[in-house]
Subunit: 334 residues, 4 copies
């Protein structure tokens, strides 16, 4: 059975430990963390796991693959070392803090002939998968636009701003759904509480085939929102992740332009059909993700969120941040 | 008593007729429309009103003031004529279809020493007024950002796109609340159904004192949203106009940065207090607006949404539309 | 065309006047009210209608049918007179203030060979009709129970208590859906604000074929609720009349008892399918109702809510009120 | 430090184990379960705890107190034994399956001079405590009525019906808030899926000082509801436990009867004030409860939900079930 090691059991790592232990597809074999206390706690819960305070030592053991759940700034070094040691690697999102590093990891994985996957968990969640099916089946028609809101109060991150922390989720969902990277990206934001670190931001994306997308992310909004609206020419979808019972709603609604007949001008008609909230699988996204990683290792398949996918997400973030509002270049009020 | 005439009883005009008749502050004296059928219907309901199929004729009668509720493209000519005939004028929003025309109307009103008001009805609605009070009292603290969503399915307009139709409301609210015009404005949108006429758009605004704002407007979204979120340093407010019972919620919440003490680094603390949904007056915004117009005429006061205010709204729209996403100028994906 | 007269244009009557005028199936021919001011207002809006301050005089005119929208206590006398004058009669709900009088009206109508209908408007509303279709098609399976909540703050009625004012709606819906009158009915309530007039009440009903129902009605609850839950063996429905966009939700959910196999005991399994919110016709219930009345007159069909139906509703109310909580007869705490 | 033992780590017990371990007020010292596998799992998580497969053996050890989280039918025997061994006892709700047994436990505790507490967890939850404060402070005025809805789909219990499973929570809350037991109780229900075991039930309660209460409980409803509405003469409260952010809403609303002045009859006026959703402590009810138990042991105080309280809850259930709908005794439809 595929033996997995885990690097980092701070904030998110313990959840990965839990699903590694829960899965019947792999063996949770080793675990490392610089913090002995955190490591101890994990080892007590999973007595058969070997513990390391040095990740490099663990990477020299007989594990087949490794999951990296450390701070973003350490992703690149750890993933590169693991690939060079011949391990398959799953790195938490974002894959790296620059696209250059992400690009380099993709090259390293190719050279090492090892699998590189990015832990974009939302791509493995039942509602996101369901929407992907609707998109691929053509049921939604052509996609006109998507609107994302991911806001709440609190949980400021230390090392990154709100775009790297929250928009990364929406961008991964967007790229998975549309199957392409944006050709243009733009952003606008404000650092309200801390100097030089945006806690609210708005992003816009343009895709080659037509769709546009808007994304609002904030750590400083009074109501929690986790809402995505997808508008297609045939159907529309609202995915509200805060709704405990009806996360997805599919609207059989639309507007159609009828060619001019006797009337001499184009006519708009509105179509109002049923709303369907499909029953969704209750499997945990993180378990799906880890088992997808293991299955790809076992079958030699390319993961849904491989290194290239992780790179595209980082590129989209960088593009949006580069195209930040620069007033001087714009036409301003007289 | 101040005698009022009404030009245009098509889509919105009948509502103005109703409140002109209802108000005890003025006399609904005359009414004109090119369409005799529509005019007839109004005259039957309000038998004491004189009817005209020619607006110019009505403007020569003894009315003191006129409300113009015709198509946008005719606002300028009618308002100018009315001002030149010495009538006080209230024009429906937007005041004109270009800022040059709006500017001209402001000048005409000054020359004629007549009152010019723009019918930005939301500025006269109880929740919007309540938020203005909170802002002016300092209860919300410094304003960090505002986020507007005004979307639904349908009600495409013939003569204008979605920015002129819907964003005009949000911009009027924004200018009223902040008491200043934006220094920068930007927009991004798509014409999904009709050629060259956006039915979904996103706008961003920057204000001199710091606040930023985002505004999403759409005619092609499955769920109706009429939601504004205002985030201040002391309090936050959500105004949801689709909520029949609790339109406003005031959140005593925030994030604070504590200077470094013994810890060596800045500390973030979250404040979580009560949520209050204030009871709001149930007066009709349109009646408030019309009576405000009449009171301003009677007392010589400048209306809250005078010609200059209407001009600022048109300028903000024009600025956002000019600064439309122009991909060639932007850094794009490699 | 069938000529209709209307008696009573106080609180509810003007709405009936509006739809009588709007309908192309009948002629709104005459109108009466004791209050000359109210009558005047209606006559000005509908100039072709003849006005009467004496209902009996109107009943002697050439109208074919009459709608009675007066206070409950006057229903009986007016309806009886109208039937005796050979008019078809639609009486507002409840048909009379006692079942004896209701019974008598049914007999009068039979004797006069005239149509007698009760104005249970909800029975003509699109969501209620849609549920009836689901019930009749067998899609919901056997009905286990129904739970009604009709509560809000205010609108105390002068002449009746909360059961006669609000529960009358739920009972009409219940009888229409189940197609039978309850065999047992019970009630429990309290007069909170006024002496001897319940402003909150709970009712229970038992039906011969199995279903049970509970109904909560109140004039003194902080949140408005207009909610009905229908639980069937195959599907469940929630009808929330306060939801502007998804009034009906059909749940493909259930619990099933599997016979004991190897396990030795009965197994419960839960079925969780999709939720569908059907698109509903947007026709106005009151217009549907009035046109149903006219169509029944023209075709000689029995109305859905005929006199007998109105009588059954009154009987159910009387039964529930008679079986009021009487502590002395019950087993009480030691 | 007070040493605690836990009997039963099946469904609910592991949660108690967690808070016993988490609390700094007591020592989680011993644990017993008939099922070795379940016991093992707990002992691995809490290595310092001694394990027993025989509860009686554990009761002979040096623990000071015991928490009983076994099936309802075993509560009585286990609690009696524990009291006789001189242990303080906290029993999960309901304290016993008959009031006779509950009464006996109260007597045993008195004889043994040991503390007996019932685990009515809701009584220790922040929203329920907040409402109790509002009630005791007089802020709500006189209580007119309370309406409870506790319904959802699934989680059928093996040993008890829906009244013993779900209504027990509402009754504990009701008795805590009002500070008295009901003088009358009545119930109505139906066994939809299984023979002779109600899965939906409605209960009514009458209290000596005036308040009435209604309670709907169901295992077979499509939407989850955890809603309590409290109507007082001065203020009204809605407690919706499914709302993640605003569980409590306090309505400054009411109806008042003004004595007749010049008008000759009583006038009703409606008061519509603000709605306040107080920020609530985020402490876990179960931890509160366990620490309350420990504190009462240490200080000799009577617990809020002592044996007598648990007995009153069982009596109220028994009274409601005895006064079940018995059609033959009631006036029925002709």
């Amino acid at each position: 059975m595929t033996k997995l090691g885990l690097i980092g059991v701070g904030y998110w790592g313990p959840n990965i430990a839990r699903v590694l232990n829960q899965s019947t597809q792999c063996e949770f074999s080793a675990c490392s963390d610089l913090d002995e206390g955190k490591l101890e706690k994990i080892l007590r819960q999973y007595p058969s796991v070997r513990g390391f305070t040095n990740a490099n030592e663990m990477l020299e053991s007989d594990i087949d693959a490794v999951v990296i759940a450390t701070g973003i700034s350490t992703h690149y070094e750890l993933a590169r070392t693991a690939l060079r040691r011949g391990k398959h690697v799953m790195v938490e999102k974002p894959i790296a803090d620059t696209s250059a590093k992400a690009q380099d990891l993709v090259a390293e994985a190719a050279k090492a002939r090892r699998l590189l996957m990015t832990g974009h968990t939302f791509v493995y969640s039942p509602p996101v998968i369901k929407v992907k099916e609707l998109l691929d089946s053509g049921e939604l028609g052509d996609i006109f636009f998507l609107s994302f809101s991911r806001v709440n109060l609190g949980l400021y991150q230390k090392d990154v701003d709100v775009v790297w922390d929250l928009a990364v989720h929406d961008i991964s969902i967007l790229l998975y759904w549309l199957g392409e990277a944006p050709i243009h990206a733009y952003s606008f934001g404000r650092a309200c509480i801390q100097q030089a670190k945006n806690d609210v931001a708005f992003l816009w994306f343009q895709f080659r085939r037509g769709p546009v997308a808007s994304c609002e992310v904030s750590w400083i909004s009074p109501q929690k929102m986790r809402r995505i609206c997808i508008v297609g020419s045939k159907r529309m979808v609202v995915y509200d992740d805060t709704d405990p019972s009806e996360k997805l709603k599919i609207y059989d609604r639309g507007v159609m332009l009828r060619p001019p007949a006797t009337f001499g001008e184009f006519q708009l008609t509105y179509r109002m059909g049923d709303v369907v909230s499909p029953n969704l699988a209750s499997t945990e996204p993180l378990l799906n993700e880890v088992e997808h990683f293991v299955r790809c290792i076992q079958t030699g398949t390319t993961p849904r969120t491989d290194g290239k996918f992780g790179l595209d997400v980082v590129r989209a973030i960088e593009m949006a941040i580069s195209n930040r509002w620069r007033p001087a270049e714009l036409i301003t009020a007289a």
